[in-house]
């Protein structure tokens, strides 16, 4: 499948409906373009998708699950806590004829006892909540995923949290590598959003399990306004949609 075909197939899927999107769960739709870029990056640069078993945590409407299935994943397991989102995901899977390749499960990353899977996924590809409403949920998603996959976790995070994840990864038994800097086009989803859309700078981070892969290369200069500085400065003036960034450095 060509790149544009993948993106076109994903563009036909339904995003979160504004009337059912759950702000507490930070449900923001991943655009077709972004989803395609994430999965193609994993597939092309690392050969991590084709023939692999993929976990999609916080799958929402299932766009990343579909993207992985279309890119040749052997099987995808999409997990979400919200049944409205899962129903939308099921419809989307059908629309791109991926329903046989993707299993959907309703489960909670924060649940105790933790959800266990009968199959060991090779990788996880996810766009977790950024941790604005529920501080630290982004880190809990990453740790949950790292505890289940055999090889790597691809996860989308606000660039302002980059330093945190790169620093913490070794503690979690992984090494973090920033594989792409992307723009998350945040469409107007909730009533308090004033603009039709807004771009948020995000990093696609690849966490390699074991960390015995290549040591992380020096991170590209943070996407600040031409200034240096460590990751954190990037949050200034962009706090509207995703809220403020305080408390971000805390561990849990």
């Amino acid at each position: 499948m060509k790149d544009w075909e993948l993106e076109a197939a994903l563009a036909a899927l339904d995003p979160f409906a504004p009337e059912t999107a759950n702000y507490e769960l930070e449900q923001y739709s991943t655009s077709a373009h972004l989803a395609a870029q994430i999965v193609l990056c994993a597939a092309r640069s690392f050969g991590d998708v084709e023939g692999q078993v993929v976990l999609d945590l916080g799958c929402g409407t299932g766009i990343l699950s579909c993207a992985c299935a279309l890119a040749g994943a052997a099987r995808v397991v999409g997990v979400d806590v919200d049944d409205t989102a899962l129903a939308a995901a099921a419809e989307n899977l059908e629309r791109c004829s991926c329903e046989a390749d993707v299993d959907l499960v309703r489960g909670d990353v924060d649940a105790a006892p933790p959800l266990r899977l009968a199959a060991v996924p090779d990788i996880c590809v996810m766009n977790p909540p950024f941790g604005t409403r529920n501080v630290g949920v982004d880190a809990r998603f990453v740790r949950f995923a790292l505890g289940r996959v055999s090889s790597a976790v691809y996860s989308l995070h606000k660039s302002s949290t980059r330093a945190y994840f790169v620093d913490r990864a070794p503690e979690w038994g992984a090494s973090a590598q920033i594989v792409a800097e992307l723009k998350f086009d945040l469409p107007k989803t909730y009533k308090f959003h004033r603009d039709e859309s807004r771009d948020v700078r995000v990093d696609l981070i690849r966490f390699a399990v074991g960390g015995d892969a290549l040591p992380p290369p020096p991170p590209p200069p943070p996407p600040g306004r031409g200034k240096g500085g460590k990751g954190k400065g990037g949050a200034r003036g962009r706090g509207r949609a995703k809220g403020d960034q305080r408390g971000r450095g805390r561990r849990r």
Binding site: A74, R75, E94, A100, R106, R116
Partner: protein, 112 residues
């Protein structure tokens, strides 16, 4: 059609969860190298128990050269879709319902 494959079977405290099927659907797909790739990634003992609930008998120990057995594994992994049923924890008896092919692994608030 909405689906859940036997492979997606989850576990909780008890291991593995028992599968109860109210409604299932079988859709034949092509037998190919998929099975060889998937086998190392699934817990075969759990798969075998789930497959038995769906009416596919898998051998206790799998011989990777036994094509007939591999075909049955393929059926369990790819062709059988549980639409409605439940996953039951053998330890606590807690039932996790499966509706429209999606198992609901959430616990009620009073159980947490």
């Amino acid at each position: 059609m909405l689906v859940s494959n036997v492979k997606g079977v989850e576990e909780c405290d008890g291991y593995p969860l028992q599968l109860e099927i109210e409604e299932m659907r079988t859709e034949e797909t092509e037998f190919n190298a998929f099975v060889h790739r998937m086998l190392p990634k699934v817990r075969y003992d759990a798969l075998r128990i789930a497959a038995a609930a769906a009416g596919c008998d898998l051998p206790e120990a799998l011989d990777a050269t036994d094509e007939d057995a591999l075909r049955r594994v393929h059926t369990a992994l790819c062709d059988v879709h549980v639409v409605k049923g439940a996953l039951v924890c053998p330890k606590s008896g807690r039932r996790f319902p499966i509706n429209n092919g999606i198992p609901n692994m959430l616990l009620h608030e009073d159980e947490v």
